[in-house]
Amino acid sequence: MGNNNTEQQDHFLSQLQDCANHLVEKLQSDNLDEASEMIHDLVEARNQHIFKSVGQLTRGLHNAIVNFHVDADMDSEPPEVNNSEIKDASNRLQYVITKTQEAADKTMDKVEAVAPIAMNLGLEATRLREEWHRLKRREMTKEEFRDLYNQMGDFLDQMDEGTTTLNKSLQDIILEQGYQDLTGQVLRKVIGLVTDVESELVKLMRIAGQVEQVTGLAKNPESVRDPNIVKQRDTVAEGPQINAESRTDVVSGQDEVDDLLSSLGF
């Protein structure tokens, strides 16, 4: 598509130069009728070129819409998007939030449920060990020994039951981490879509740029970019930094936060 456009552009420019040269010749020889015909041809050629470029832009937009499977009701105002890959991507991202939330909740539920078991077994073990040492030091009466004997049996039962529950929960917690796989796949798809959208946008921008050039709408890009707009965005919340290491305006950990704050007198 790009080459095709450049050829058209070159063709249009050479047509323009030819016409201009002829026009000067006609005017110099006072041939006004033919000169006005030339001007007419010139305008015609420019219009043709604009129509072609606009046509390409429209086709490009249409392709982009088809590629992203946008199913929209254009009659309603504003047009209502029933379905599209972007909408689908939003749903996928929502899914990631739901999945990760569920996984975090289930994991914490499991831990909260079994933490008391582990703690009680630990407390009981500590207590029995002290009793056991008393026995070894022969500081125990017959009655106390009989109690210890029974307590030992109970503890072994508790231990058996408790560790079974603990192992089951630990296993469940590991299984629960499967959300990473699921959400990772979904995120990869969304990343693919974002990349596609970007390349389609670049294509459209290229065509639009050519339309602007022939119609004289193009502005100096520097004047369009207002530095204040970029400045204002500085304190917009960004969420987790994915490439903290490669950015100098971002801290890469708590230590750097502490250094920065202490430099401010904290």
């Binding site: 990760t100 919340a237 936060v257 704050l261 401010l264 904290f266």
Partner: protein
Amino acid sequence: MKILIVDDFSTMRRIIKNLLRDLGFTNTQEADDGSTALPMLRSGDFDFLVTDWNMPGMTGIDLLKEVRADAKLAGLPVLMVTAEAKRDQIVEAAQAGVNGYVVKPFTAQVLKEKIDKIFERVGS
């Protein structure tokens, strides 16, 4: 010690709540953004505020500014626990009067240190 935990993700509120409980702080309440938190702070006798930055509705930094501008709440210790890691943001939070800044993901140890430090200062 009554603490308000403000974060739009319930998972994070729960994690912070659990960590605080381990540190012996059991009296906690939750809010999911600044605009829900502010009336709670104004009507309740909270001793400490733990807030995220990036939330829909009112953000944590705006909540902090509101708290500092409120005569009754101005002295409330505020700890920011957030994924926002830009230097400009940390400076902005410091200038707005934050008492501590913890970046996510964080450890229980870091949270404890910052809380201890805040109460050490407030107490002295």
